[in-house]
């Protein structure tokens, strides 16, 4: 029944670099494309930090308004995620402190209760989530940035503002924990 349509940004095939150049020339449409291209990633990342729907929406808005203020004159030197990541992290820290509630509608939550409950995740996924939850935030974040957000090691280092060696060390230790944990060691089995 789902119909995967092209999101607004995917109708525009310009690279991030081209879009940034256009925004620097005053093209607000190009900013809109970038916004929708990264919106869901930013809000999910904000949720990872805040664990709060409303706070993550605040962070989403603040992140892009902060990004907007960099124009004209913004220079993209790496993956845009490496620029956005620290902004989201810092704004999430502020949001957690403020713990301000966004007046979102609860209706969506109320009526979703009427819908069929989603299938429970397989036991593999549940075990992985449990083991990840037990990791320190630093180790977990490196794993998620690497294997969900698809950043390479250098990009992770730039995003988290830590040395490349530290990224490697945290990644190695995180994977070791998964390898050694009885609940997730089967992922490493032959």
């Amino acid at each position: 029944m789902d119909a995967r349509v092209q999101p607004k940004d995917n109708l525009d095939t310009r690279s991030d670099l081209d879009l940034i150049a256009a925004i620097n020339r005053g093209d607000s449409g190009a900013f809109e494309v970038l916004y929708f291209r990264y919106r869901d990633w930013v809000v999910r990342l904000a949720y990872r930090f805040t664990r709060d729907d409303h706070a993550s929406l605040d962070v989403l808005q603040e992140t892009f308004l902060y990004f907007l203020k960099k124009f004209p004159g913004f220079r993209l030197t790496a993956n845009l995620k490496t620029f956005l990541y620290p902004a989201v992290r810092n704004l999430s820290a502020c949001a957690r402190e403020k713990s301000q509630r966004y007046q979102a509608t609860e209706i969506e939550l109320g009526t979703i209760e009427n819908a069929t409950a989603p299938e429970s995740p397989s036991s593999d996924l549940s075990d992985l989530q449990l083991v990840l939850a037990a990791l320190s935030e630093d180790h977990r974040e490196v794993l998620l940035l690497r294997f969900i957000d698809g950043l390479n090691l250098l990009e992770i280092a730039q995003s988290m503002d830590i040395p490349l060696g530290t990224v490697k060390s945290r990644l190695h230790n995180g994977l070791q924990t998964l390898r050694n944990d009885p609940r997730t060691k089967e992922f490493f089995g032959r």
Partner: protein
């Protein structure tokens, strides 16, 4: 002696009954109000209704679906309606026309909590109803308090 015993028992029973009556005074009651739609000969595929208590003595505590398989699931409603006196309920079905109910159908039941010994005064308003094509149809609404056994 036997007579005294019987009298004592009766007096005890009477006292207990009296206590129970006192305890029941001021208690809240729960009633179920069945909501009906009569679409006559047209198959009912979608409806939206507004139910409100008009004398302020009752509040909504629950909403459940209706009798027909089509509308057995609870309808859509705003959770803010719970513990208040007004609700909009709505539901639809994309089932084939043959599976849709027609005539008088119980589409939902609204559960109310209200002060004892108060009559229910409420209002039911039809916002819209439609057949399987999405064409608006007229329908008569009714609500009935479910009698307790």
């Amino acid at each position: 002696m036997k007579t005294l015993g019987v009298i004592l028992i009766f007096r005890l029973a009477a006292a207990l009954y009296a206590e129970q009556s006192v305890a029941e005074e001021g208690r809240s009651r729960f009633r179920a109000v069945d909501i009906y739609l009569d679409s006559k000969s047209a198959p009912l595929a979608a409806y939206q209704l507004e139910f409100s208590v008009t004398n302020g003595y009752a509040r909504i505590v629950g909403i459940e679906g209706g009798e027909s398989p089509t509308f057995r699931q609870p309808p859509f409603y705003d959770p803010k309606a719970i513990q208040h006196d007004r609700v909009i309920i709505a539901a639809f079905s994309t089932a084939s026309p043959a599976s849709l109910p027609h005539g008088k159908t119980r589409v939902a039941t609204i559960h109310l909590e209200y002060a004892d010994n108060q009559e229910l005064e409420a209002e039911l308003k039809l916002h819209t109803a439609a057949d399987s094509e999405g064409t608006k149809i007229s329908a008569e609404t009714a609500f009935e308090e479910r009698k307790t056994k």
